[in-house]
C-alpha cells in the first residue's frame, strides 16, 4: 500500500515538475498554440486519473482490512527530533480523496474548453496541479506537519489563482486580503503542531475510539489551547465566523478555480481538520460550545448576506458559508457521519452551480425568448418596514460588518501606529542628513 500512497502524492508532483520544465524551456508558452494546450491538459489529467485509480485500490484495502497508518520515510531531523512522513488510509481520507479527485477531474476537463486560448491557460493548470498535490497531502496526512505542508500548498495556489487575471486592479488586492487571513490562521495550525510536540512529543494521528478514522490524539495538558489553535486554523480556511469576509473576494479568479476552491474543496478542508481533531471537542465542553456558537453565527451571517447579494458568484459564495456553518454545527453536536455526508453533497452541488454560473445569463435569455416577455420580479416593495428589519438589512448589506472590523478597525488602527513610527524614522533620517547639509551650506555661506 505504501507504493500506492507514494504514487498518489508523487504523480501530481511529477506532473508539476514537468510543467515547470516546460515553462523553463519554452519562452512564450502562452503563444505556443493548441498542441501545447493539449499537452498541458494531458500532463494534468493523466496523473489525476492515476490517482483516482490509486484511491480506488486504497478504498478496497480499507474496506477489507480497516484503517491503517503507513510510515513512508523520515525526511530530516536532529538528535531528538525526526520529521516523519506518515500517511493514513481511513474512511475520512478515502472519502475526501475520492471527492477531490472526481471533482478535480471534472473541473480539469471543463477548464480545457473554458480557458481555451486564454493567455493564462498553462499557468492555470500549473497552479491547479499544486492545488491537487496540496489537497491529496492534506487528505492522506498522518501527522500534523505533513498536513501543514498540504495546507500551505492549497493556500498559496488559491491566492495565486485569485490573482489569475493579471490585467485588472481587483484580483491582486483581493488575493492579498485572502492571503493575509490565510497566513494569520495558519499560525494557529503551526502553533498547534508545536504545542502537541511540547505536550506529547509527537503529532502523529491515532485511530480514534468508536470511529472510522484517524485523528489528533488529545493530550491531558494543553487540551484547550491546542483545540483553540486548531479551531482558529479551521475558521480561516473554511471562512467561518469571524473570517467569512474573504469568500466573496475570492471569486475574482476564473470560474473553474472558484468552483474547486470556494465551492467544493478548499473551504471543506476546515471541516476535515475539525473531523480529525474531533477528540478535542469531545473532551472539552467549552470547545464544543464555542464550535457550536461559531457554526450558528457563520450560518446566520451567511444566510443574511446571501439574501442581499446581487451577483450570482457572491450569492453562491454566501450560500457556501451558510452550509459550512451548518456542517460545523453538525460536528459540534457529534454527528460526524452526517457532517461528512453533508460535505460530499454540498461540495458536489456547489461545484456544479458555480460551473453553471457563467451560462446563467444565456439561460435567462433563452427563457425570456420562450416566454415572449422578461422574467421580471413580481413581488412589490413594502414601504412600511420595521426598524428591526431595516437594521437587519443594513447588517446584511455590510456582510455582518466583518470586513469593516478587520480591514478598517483592526488593520487600520495598526497601520496608523506603524506609520507614525515610520514617519519618526523618516524624520530622524531627514534631520540627520539635512542638518549636516545645512551646516555645510552655512560654512559655504560664511566662506562667501
Amino acid at each position: 500500500m505504501n507504493n500506492v500512497l507514494i504514487l498518489l502524492i508523487f504523480a501530481p508532483a511529477f506532473s508539476l515538475v514537468l510543467q515547470l520544465l516546460r515553462f523553463f524551456a519554452i519562452k512564450n508558452i502562452s503563444a505556443a498554440g493548441v498542441q501545447a494546450e493539449k499537452t498541458t491538459y494531458y500532463l494534468v489529467m493523466l496523473p489525476i486519473l492515476a490517482c483516482l485509480l490509486g484511491v480506488l485500490v486504497l478504498s478496497i484495502n480499507v474496506i477489507l482490512h480497516g484503517p491503517s497508518s503507513h510510515h513512508i520515510s523520515n525526511w530530516f531531523g536532529s538528535s531528538d527530533y525526526n520529521y516523519k512522513i506518515i500517511f493514513v488510509t481511513d474512511y475520512l481520507s478515502i472519502v475526501y480523496g475520492l471527492l477531490s479527485l472526481t471533482l478535480l477531474g471534472t473541473i480539469c476537463y471543463f477548464s480545457k474548453r473554458y480557458l481555451h486560448k486564454d493567455p493564462g491557460f498553462h499557468r492555470f493548470y500549473l497552479l491547479f496541479t499544486i492545488f491537487c498535490c496540496g489537497l491529496l497531502i492534506v487528505a492522506f496526512a498522518g501527522i500534523l506537519e505533513i498536513l501543514i505542508i498540504g495546507w500551505e500548498l492549497v493556500g498559496i495556489s488559491s491566492v495565486l489563482l485569485i490573482a489569475f487575471y493579471t490585467t485588472r486592479d481587483g484580483p491582486p488586492r483581493n488575493a492579498l486580503y485572502v492571503f493575509i487571513i490565510y497566513r494569520c490562521c495558519d499560525i494557529g495550525l503551526i502553533t498547534a503542531a508545536l504545542l502537541l510536540h511540547y505536550f506529547t512529543h509527537h503529532s502523529n494521528f491515532e485511530l480514534l475510539e468508536n470511529s472510522y478514522w484517524y485523528g489528533i490524539e488529545a493530550p491531558h495538558d494543553g487540551l484547550l489551547i491546542i483545540g483553540l489553535c486548531l479551531l482558529f486554523a479551521a475558521s480561516g480556511k473554511a471562512a467561518l465566523f469571524p473570517f467569512s469576509s474573504w469568500i466573496p473576494r475570492a471569486m475574482e479568479g476564473p470560474t473553474p478555480s472558484s468552483a474547486i476552491f470556494y465551492g467544493a474543496l478548499s473551504v471543506h478542508l476546515g471541516p476535515l481538520l475539525l473531523l480529525r481533531s474531533i477528540n478535542f471537542f469531545a473532551e472539552s465542553q467549552l470547545l464544543m460550545t464555542l464550535l457550536l456558537v461559531i457554526g450558528v453565527l457563520t450560518a446566520l451571517i451567511g444566510f443574511l448576506s446571501w439574501q442581499v447579494q446581487n451577483d450570482i458568484k457572491s450569492k453562491l459564495a454566501y450560500g457556501s458559508v451558510t452550509q459550512l456553518g451548518i456542517i460545523v454545527c453538525e460536528i459540534a453536536l457529534g454527528w460526524e457521519i452526517l457532517a461528512l455526508i453533508h460535505v460530499v453533497t454540498h461540495a458536489s452541488l456547489r461545484a456544479l452551480q458555480i460551473l453553471r454560473a457563467p451560462s446563467l445569463l444565456q439561460d435567462y435569455k433563452l427563457i425570456n425568448q420562450m416566454l415572449g416577455h422578461s422574467l421580471a420580479a413580481t413581488q412589490e416593495y413594502d414601504h412600511k418596514v420595521s426598524r428591526f428589519r431595516q437594521f437587519i438589512y443594513r447588517i446584511s448589506l455590510e456582510r455582518g460588518l466583518l470586513e469593516t472590523f478587520w480591514k478598517d478597525r483592526f488593520l487600520g488602527t495598526l497601520k496608523i501606529i506603524i506609520l507614525s513610527f515610520d514617519r519618526l524614522d523618516n524624520n530622524i533620517a531627514a534631520k540627520l542628513g539635512n542638518a549636516a547639509a545645512d551646516n555645510k551650506n552655512t560654512v559655504k555661506g560664511d566662506e562667501a
Binding site: 536532529s78 538528535s79 491582486p172 506603524i418 513610527f421 533620517a429 540627520l432 542628513g433 549636516a436
Partner: protein, 410 residues
C-alpha cells in the same frame, strides 16, 4: 534597445553619470569579478567533496565550507544581476570586498576580527555612495555611533557585564537596521544600487550569525527585545508603500531572527542555523536584485496600488515570486526545513518568544507576496520591452532550484 537604455538612465535613482564617466571599462571588470567568484565557488565545491560531504562517517565540520559555497553563489548572482548603470569599478570593488569579508566572517570566531571585517565592509559601503551627499552623511553619522558603541562595550571590563551587553545590543540593533532605531537602513535601500545593498546584506547576515560573540549571556529579556524590534520591522514592511523601503524593514527583521538564533544556547541547532543562513544569503538578496532589475525598467517601485508588469516582464515576475516564497520559508524549501527544526527545539524552551517569531515569519511572508502581487499584477498595459536576460534567468532558476532540491538531500 535604445528605448530601454533611455529608461535606465531616466528611472534609475542611483544613476550616477560621473561614476560611469570615470569608470574604466566596467564590463571587463565585471567579467573578471564573475570569473574570480566562479573559480572560488568551484574550488570550494571541490574542497567540500574532497573533505567528505557525501561521506556520512566524516567527523569534519563542513558547515563553514557549505556556507562559503552559498555565499560565493550569492555573490555570483549579485555580480550577474547588477544592472549596467552600477557596473562601475568602484561598485564592483565594493562587491568584491563584501565577498571577501563574508568569506572571512564565516571562518572567524573572534569578536574583534568580525567587527573589523564589518567595519571594512561598512567603509566600502560609504565609499560606494560618495556621490550622494545626504545618504553619505547619514551613513557616516550612524557608522560612527555604531562602531563607537561596539568599541566602548568591548573596552568596558567584564565586571560591568550588564552595561557591556546593553551597549552591544544597541549597536547590534543599529547595524542590523532594526526599525525604527536605524534610520540609515531604509534610506540606504531607497537610494543605493541594489547590487551594493544585496552585497552588504550578505555581510550583515553573517555578522548577525556571530551575535553570540558580542552578547554572550543572552536571556529571555534580550530575546524579547530582539523580537519586539523584529515585529515592528515586519509590520513596517507589511504596511510600507515604498517597495525598497519595505524590503529594508523585512531584511532587518530577518537579520534580527538570525541574530536571535545565533544567541540561543540550546543543543541541536547547528543544522537549523546553517539552513536559515543559507536561505538568507541566497534568496533574500535575490528578491532585492529582482527589485533592482524591475526598477531599472519601470522606475519607482510603489506598493500603493497594483503596477501590473507581469505581461511585460513574465520572467522577472516569476523570479520575484519564487525568491519571495523561498525567502518566506515556503514549504518544501530549505527555509521551511530550517524553521521547522528550529521551532521544534526552541518552542520547548521559550514558547512565547518562538510564537512571536512565527508571527514575524508570517508577516514577512505577507510582505513577500504583497510585493509580488502589487509589483507584477493588475494593469492592462503591456509594453514590448526587454525581459530578463536568459543568462540571468537561468542563474536565478538554478539558485531557486538549488534551494528547493537541497531540502530533499540534507
Amino acid at each position: 534597445m535604445s528605448n530601454v537604455l533611455i529608461n535606465h538612465s531616466l528611472h534609475s535613482p542611483s544613476h550616477d553619470a560621473i561614476s560611469i564617466a570615470n569608470s574604466n571599462n566596467p564590463q571587463q571588470f565585471r567579467t573578471w569579478l564573475i570569473s574570480v567568484l566562479s573559480a572560488a565557488a568551484i574550488v570550494m565545491a571541490c574542497a567540500l567533496i574532497s573533505k567528505g560531504l557525501f561521506n556520512e562517517h566524516s567527523n569534519l565540520d563542513l558547515t563553514p565550507y557549505l556556507q562559503s559555497l552559498v555565499v560565493l553563489i550569492s555573490f555570483i548572482l549579485i555580480s550577474v544581476f547588477s544592472p549596467s548603470w552600477s557596473t562601475t569599478n568602484r561598485g564592483f570593488i565594493s562587491v568584491l570586498v563584501f565577498a571577501i569579508c563574508s568569506c572571512l566572517l564565516i571562518f572567524t570566531d573572534n569578536a574583534l576580527t568580525s567587527l573589523g571585517l564589518v567595519f571594512l565592509a561598512y567603509i566600502f559601503l560609504v565609499v560606494s555612495e560618495k556621490n550622494k551627499p545626504v545618504l553619505l552623511r547619514l551613513l557616516i553619522i550612524y557608522g560612527v555611533v555604531i562602531f563607537a558603541l561596539f568599541i566602548v562595550s568591548n573596552l568596558i571590563t567584564a565586571s560591568q557585564g550588564a552595561a557591556f551587553q546593553g551597549l552591544s545590543i544597541a549597536a547590534y540593533l543599529l547595524i542590523l537596521g532594526g526599525f525604527p532605531l536605524a534610520s540609515w537602513y531604509g534610506k540606504l535601500y531607497e537610494n543605493s544600487s541594489t547590487g551594493i545593498c544585496a552585497g552588504f546584506l550578505v555581510v550583515q547576515g553573517l555578522f548577525a550569525s556571530k551575535s553570540a560573540l558580542f552578547i554572550p549571556e543572552s536571556s529571555s529579556l534580550i530575546h524579547g527585545i530582539f523580537l519586539i524590534v523584529a515585529l515592528l520591522s515586519s509590520l513596517a514592511a507589511a504596511f510600507q508603500v515604498n517597495a525598497k523601503r519595505g524590503f529594508a524593514a523585512m531584511a532587518a527583521s530577518q537579520l534580527l531572527f538570525i541574530a536571535f538564533i545565533a544567541m540561543l544556547p540550546f543543543d541541536g541547532l547547528a543544522k537549523a542555523k546553517l539552513y536559515i543562513i543559507a536561505v538568507f544569503t541566497l534568496a533574500t538578496p535575490g528578491v532585492i536584485l529582482t527589485f533592482g532589475a524591475l526598477e531599472s525598467r519601470v522606475g519607482h517601485l510603489s506598493l500603493f496600488s497594483p503596477q501590473g508588469n507581469y505581461n511585460s516582464y513574465p520572467r522577472l515576475a516569476n523570479t520575484l515570486l519564487f525568491f519571495s516564497l523561498l525567502s518566506a520559508g515556503f514549504p518544501l524549501s530549505l527555509g521551511y526545513v530550517g524553521i521547522d527544526l528550529l521551532a521544534e527545539i526552541v518552542f520547548s524552551h521559550e514558547s512565547l518568544i518562538m510564537f512571536g517569531w512565527m508571527v514575524v515569519i508570517s508577516l514577512n511572508a505577507i510582505f513577500s507576496i504583497r510585493s509580488f502581487l502589487y509589483l507584477c499584477l493588475g494593469s492592462p498595459e503591456h509594453e514590448e520591452n526587454i525581459d530578463m536576460m536568459t543568462s540571468k534567468y537561468y542563474l536565478a532558476c538554478g539558485c531557486i532550484g538549488f534551494l528547493f532540491l537541497i531540502a530533499f538531500f540534507i
